[in-house]
């Protein structure tokens, strides 16, 4: 016997222009199907066979292929782009609904699918965000994940942050406003995971003396070629135990890290955690007295949440927070606690947002990020009263 999956939402995609085009979405698996409203009756009573014809649109797409900060909703937006519907009979419709986990046969068997993928070809288990991304990039699209990481954030020459997505509209804009408040001439800064040095260069242009480190020798070569002001770069893989030992103790006023700390909490590969305690000990050792650790990370609540509703006033739904099976970043308390326990105090918190209207990015992107911050900046110092 088929039953409606309890994890689904149905909503109109473009009610003003296409009131008969609905999205049926499984919010946990982020699968979906476009459907005429007549399909809703089949969800309610799937085993009642009819002779009717139903309109469906195959609208699912792995939208994260466009980037981490692209629309996380995983379907073709704007019903005007859906094209002509497929007109299917009852049996075909039921199969399509089951393929997208909108109808299920057995709730227990369905719940059992929420587990780590065993391999890149495993479609039975839903897996984590990173596994889904790896599966899509490597197995299905056959694209190089490291090239994808860069393309989604930087311009093709890797010299600047892209302005046509939220990296530009939120992160870059925020750093341009905020860094001048912190970077002073001669300030000694360590940029951990500097990539091709884009942000390290911003800091150096403000007069800071920056050392950028990254595991990728190609990025470091590029960063070095472009270095201006007091910026130097070296290859260093934080995942190698003892990698930071070569840097002298108490040598930095500021340690900056963006979009990298999350991997200490939600490992890229399930079951292979990185050593957070060791990392924090390294940060403590490297900071000068009174120095700061600046962490700009995906927001614990709003990052990779689906952008639903009207493009001018999007809303979202939460599916998990404290116990992450799919998400890629830790809850706020989990992120902060190890640092607080290690003697840090939080001295600054920022939730960078987009401007509501930004002609360089789509309306929905800007509207979502103007209301829901997708990054969180924590500024921490060692508690001198304790030390």
């Amino acid at each position: 016997m088929s039953q409606i999956c309890p994890d689904i939402l149905s909503f109109p995609e473009s009610p003003a222009t296409h009131p008969d085009r609905w999205v049926l979405m499984n919010v946990h698996t982020r699968q979906c199907l476009g459907a005429g409203p007549e399909v809703l009756a089949v969800l309610a009573e799937p085993d009642v066979v009819t002779t009717a014809t139903y309109r469906v649109w195959k609208i699912w797409r792995f939208s994260h292929i466009d980037g981490l900060l692209a629309d996380p909703s995983r379907y073709k937006r704007d019903a005007a782009t859906w094209g002509e519907p497929e007109r299917v009979d009852h049996a075909t419709l039921v199969k399509m609904l089951k393929d997208q986990c909108l109808l299920i046969d057995d709730l227990e068997a369905y719940r059992a699918r929420f587990d780590f993928k065993k391999t890149l070809l495993d479609r039975q288990r839903f897996g984590t965000y990173h596994q889904q991304l790896g599966q899509q990039l490597i197995a299905f699209e056959r694209r190089d994940p490291s090239a994808w990481w860069l393309q989604q954030k930087f311009t093709p020459d890797l010299a600047a942050i892209r302005q046509d997505n939220l990296y530009g509209a939120v992160q870059d804009r925020f750093l341009d406003e905020w860094l001048p408040k912190r970077m002073t001439p001669g300030l000694r800064v360590l940029d951990l995971g500097c990539g091709a040095g884009t942000i390290a260069q911003k800091m150096a242009r403000l007069g800071a003396s920056v050392l950028g480190v990254d595991p990728n020798p190609d990025y470091i070569r590029l960063a070095t070629e472009r270095a201006e002001g007091d910026a130097t770069f070296q290859v260093l893989d934080l995942n190698t135990p003892g990698a930071l030992d070569a840097l002298p103790a108490a040598s930095f006023d500021c340690i900056y890290m963006s979009d990298a700390l999350l991997f200490y909490f939600v490992p890229y590969e399930p079951g292979k955690p990185l050593d957070l305690a060791r990392f924090i000990a390294d940060v403590k050792r490297l900071l000068k007295p009174g120095g700061s650790f600046l962490s700009l990370e995906p927001h614990p609540v709003f990052y990779v949440q689906p952008w639903l509703g009207d493009p001018s006033r999007p809303f979202t739904v939460m599916t998990e927070y404290l116990h992450t099976h799919w998400r890629i970043n830790p809850p706020l308390a989990v992120l902060a606690r190890p640092f607080l326990e290690a003697g840090f105090v939080i001295t600054g918190v920022e939730e960078p947002a987009s401007q509501r209207d930004n002609p360089q990015v789509p309306q929905r992107d800007a509207a979502f990020a103007s209301e829901f911050p997708v990054w969180l900046l924590l500024e921490m110092k060692l508690d001198t009263a304790q030390a």
């Binding site: 391999t119 890149l120 070809l121 197995a139 299905f140 056959r142």
Partner: protein, 84 residues
């Protein structure tokens, strides 16, 4: 080109399949048995595509059939028949 032989030779070059008879080898779920790891899949897929002049679609890669050596051979044979 003998598909079974080429496929078995590939697995031999990657450390070999468990089992003493050809039948046991063909029944092997080579991903579960960790003969091929996640990254090795891509190498394997490219190898067979180049060797046989075929192209696996996402549905082929994710099929139940693809998970065992025997099923993999059958998928390759079907794709070769379509390509021919």
């Amino acid at each position: 080109m003998n598909v079974t032989q080429t496929v078995l030779e590939f697995f031999d070059s990657r450390g070999g399949l468990p089992g003493s008879t050809q039948d046991e080898k063909l029944a092997c779920a080579y991903l579960d048995a960790k003969v091929i790891d996640s990254m090795g899949i891509i190498d394997m897929v490219s190898h067979f595509e180049d060797s046989f002049g075929i192209r696996f679609e996402a549905d082929d890669l994710q099929s139940e059939e693809f998970q065992t050596v025997r099923g993999l051979i059958s998928v390759i044979e079907k794709l070769r028949a379509t390509a021919a």
